[in-house]
Amino acid sequence: MRRLFALALFVMAAAPAAQAEVLSSQFKGLAAASREISRRIAPGDSPIELGKYLPAEDLERLLGSWAGFGNEHNFRNGVPNALNMVIWHATLSRFAAAVGESCATPRLPMQARFRATLKKVCAWPAESARDEAVLQAFWLALMGYQAPEAEYAAWRDFFRSAYAAKPAAETVAAMTLAIAMNPYFLLHQ
């Protein structure tokens, strides 16, 4: 795991020099990601603030931010780099773990509809949890329609195979992390 992660970071860090002409995709930022997740899975009066899962205080601005004071605001730190990917990963891992742990005890505010969807996925690895409609509902609950359908298919197939025998909490956490770390979720669109 560590070696793969290091490799990914190395590859990302090398990217900007080679791709300077096409660097338009930037992170949407933690605030926007929080709003989207909240709207999809949290009750209206209890939004989910992803900032609470940051590994340390005051890191939000490193994940792409308009915030500033005393100057005109420009979107800063939106280009993916080794550092902000580590922070995103740490933050979303904690969030994903909370979703996974919610199979046993709710760890975050959830709308009734998402709770019902989660409950079905939490039956993993039972056959009912591997159902197309269950997986699709879980994917859409977190990702919405931002990603192409092929992204969903790849995600579904991966978990049906690689996590076929894994326990529910671990699988749901990994599913959540895979969705949340997907560029179609992370990047401004």
Binding site: R40, W66, E72, H89, D131, A154, A178
Partner: protein, 682 residues
């Protein structure tokens, strides 16, 4: 190698998808992906796949109960695309709130796109989008407008942004965005003053402390008033008493503000909440007490002035207290309430620049408001003179003049007259217009008449001030002169450049800030916006949103930033030069260079044909033997003529060309030249 953009969760060779197609083969490495998003995808893939095994996916069975609740038909890719458009549009038009469980997406799917967008625009949250966009346009977009059920303080900072957004909701005038004087929107008062209550204030809540400081001010006035009532006191004695009271005004004001935070103190200072009533009393005091014999002092007049001041303070305090969070916590933009400025002594309209803008756009005794001028040009006219210096006046004949032109005049010819609109505004945009001195943000002071002389017009100029919006130093006929901030608002409202700027920023906001937009299409959108705004600017704004939401660029998932996706009607992009320069050429060059046979220089800048050899495309351009000129030579000639200082050579000949357009064309020509040379070397 896999295809860029295909999903890739782990290394797989020859896997088969559920739909029967071959699954992407991803071997990792640089050649696989084409942009930063792909690198991020690689990271996600690597992280997600870290503990993966190679177990093949077993066949799946579906449970009937869930099948009925499927949120979308998987076999219909068009349906997925439309749902994506609906979700993206919902997120955009509802202030970041996309589709949720309470949205009936299936019902929306049956509607045409424009009807869906208009539904979202009828939602109260559309106001948040307009406000957020306005702040983006004005350069102060926040990460979030809301915090839980309320709004962040920064949402209240730019009053014209609020007034404009409210107008759109109410079917009013969106172009209030250009009104730099208007209502004041005071944010709900803070629960935390800048410094925590200490000493005798310790333990008080913010609302309690506010009541206390207001009572202190009232008591100070009441004590002086009481001494002037009843039996007539000695005039000299009472003048002295009131004089000492007036000397305490700074102390009283500084004790008052301890109950408020910096942003609130900024507002109260600018509207002269405490100082204004004191000034009114001071005026009467000076009239009655300076050099008058004791018996001639009209004590009732002084007492009356004090009572009037106290009455005005009471009105202002009451208005402030209406903004206590317990009484005022707007849940939507429509509920934002303007501060009743009639409660103040003589603040009839609020200058739009709020607390943060006043800090960001500070001035000094030496910069003569040029920072503020550059801001207005950039934000309201999309004329960024820092990124793209403007064209200088017509070339001078002497070396010294030419040097000055190159280094200074080009920018200052635009900046200085614009800066003059703010000549009376010192630190924090405070209006020193009626004072003899002006204080700047660097705390230096200048005599106002001397300072303002920098903008005074020469005798015979038929105007008092050299203040205005200079479109081009090279052609001063296009300058719109003015005097006050109100004049500036009027000029912005009337300027087609400002409306074009709104449309351009709207595209950047809805699609991507660095996305190339075809100038012809931008003009097409702008013309529609201008036409409609002449009747109803709120509707014009909504229509502009709708047009962009239905564009190709808005729908595209993986945008190439230097590519145009939308063109004006009737344009065939394949037959024209690249979009980033086609419109520039059409606007500035093609009236002369319109034919290789008959056009000037035997050059046709309107067509884009295969170059000799067929590898490249170029403009039709014939040499003296009527042979097609090589692309490198054509490009080199274009770059040379664009950069020439000699008016006989400089293109476009005897015509004005916008600086950003010249810059864009020059950049493109140089980049193409480099590319062709590199290709030639290979």
């Amino acid at each position: 190698m896999g295809t860029a953009g295909e999903p890739c969760y782990r290394e797989m060779q020859g896997s088969v998808r559920a739909d029967g197609r071959r699954f992407v083969t991803c071997g990792g490495g640089r050649g696989l992906f084409g942009s930063a998003r792909r690198w991020a995808l690689a990271a996600a893939a690597a992280l997600g796949a870290a503990s993966a095994s190679l177990t093949p996916a077993p066949a799946q069975q579906r449970s009937a109960g869930i099948e009925d609740a499927r949120p979308f038909p998987t076999a219909n890719p068009d349906g997925w695309a439309k749902r994506r458009w609906i979700e993206k549009t919902a997120r955009l038009l509802r202030g970041g709130e996309g589709l949720g469980p309470d949205d009936d997406v299936d019902s929306l799917m049956t509607l045409p796109e424009d009807e869906i967008a208009r539904r979202f625009m009828r939602d109260a949250r559309f106001g948040d989008m307009v406000l957020d966009f306005n702040l983006f346009m004005l350069g102060f977009k926040p990460d979030r407008l809301r915090n839980g059920s309320g709004y962040e303080r920064t949402a209240f900072d730019f009053s014209n942004a609020i007034a404009s957004a409210q107008a759109v909701l109410a079917g009013g005038d969106y172009l209030k965005l250009f009104d730099l004087r208007g209502p004041l929107y005071l944010a709900p008062l803070s629960d935390e003053p800048e410094d925590p209550p200490a000493g005798a204030d310790a333990g008080l809540t913010s609302p309690q402390l506010r009541l206390k400081v207001m009572a202190e001010v009232r008591a100070a006035f009441a004590a002086v008033i009481a001494r002037g009532k009843g039996a007539r006191p000695n005039g000299d004695w009472y003048c002295s008493l009131v004089g000492k009271f007036l000397e305490r005004r700074d102390d009283i004001a500084s004790r008052f503000v301890r109950a408020f935070n910096d942003a609130e103190v900024f507002v109260f200072t600018r509207v002269q909440l405490i100082q204004g009533p004191f000034a009114a009393v001071a005026s009467v005091h000076a009239e009655e007490c300076d050099g008058q014999p004791e018996q001639w002092v009209e004590i009732p007049l002084i007492v009356g002035a004090l009572e009037t001041a106290l009455y005005r303070l009471d009105r202002a305090f009451a208005e402030i207290l209406k903004h206590e969070p317990a009484a005022y916590r707007p849940r939507s933009l429509a509920e934002f309430r303007p501060f009743d400025l009639t409660a103040l002594i003589d603040t009839h309209a609020w200058l739009a620049f709020g607390h943060e803008q006043s800090i960001a756009l500070g001035n000094s005794s030496t910069n003569f408001n040029r920072k503020r001028a550059a801001y207005v040009l950039k934000r309201f006219f999309c004329d960024d003179i820092v990124a793209s210096p403007p064209e200088p006046p017509a070339p001078a004949r002497s070396h010294a003049q030419a040097k000055a032109e190159n280094t200074c005049i080009a920018c200052h010819a635009k900046l200085d007259p614009m800066a003059g609109f703010f000549r009376g505004h010192g630190a924090y945009f405070f209006d020193y217009g009626r004072m003899s001195a002006i204080v700047f943000d660097d705390l230096s002071t200048a005599e106002r008449t001397k300072y303002e002389a920098a903008w005074r017009a020469q005798p015979g100029a038929n105007r008092e001030w050299n203040v205005g919006y200079v479109r081009s130093a090279a052609t001063p006929d296009g300058t719109a002169f003015g005097n006050t901030v109100e004049d500036l608002s009027r000029i912005i409202r009337a300027a087609p450049e400002a409306k074009r700027c709104v449309v351009r920023r709207l595209f950047e906001y809805m699609v991507a800030p660095d996305q190339m937009i075809d100038s012809g299409w931008l003009d097409h959108l702008t013309q529609a916006f201008e036409r409609e705004a002449a009747v109803d600017s709120g509707e014009a704004f909504r229509n502009a949103v709708l047009r962009i939401a239905q564009s190709r660029a808005y729908r595209e998932r993986d945008l190439a930033p230097r590519q145009c996706y939308d063109f004006a009607p009737g344009t065939n992009p394949g037959d024209a030069p690249p979009c980033r320069i086609a419109h520039v050429l059409k606007k500035n060059c093609m009236s002369c260079h319109d034919s290789a046979q008959d056009g000037d220089g035997n050059l046709d800048l309107g067509r884009w044909i295969a170059a000799p050899g067929g590898r490249e495309r170029t403009f039709p351009h014939l040499d003296k033997f009527w042979d097609q000129v090589r692309p490198e030579e054509t490009l080199a000639k274009i770059a040379e003529r664009l950069a020439a200082r000699d008016p006989e050579l400089r293109m476009p000949k005897n015509r004005l060309m916008r600086a950003d357009e010249r810059d864009e064309l020059m950049q493109w020509a140089q980049q193409e030249l480099v590319r062709l040379r590199q290709r030639g070397e290979r």
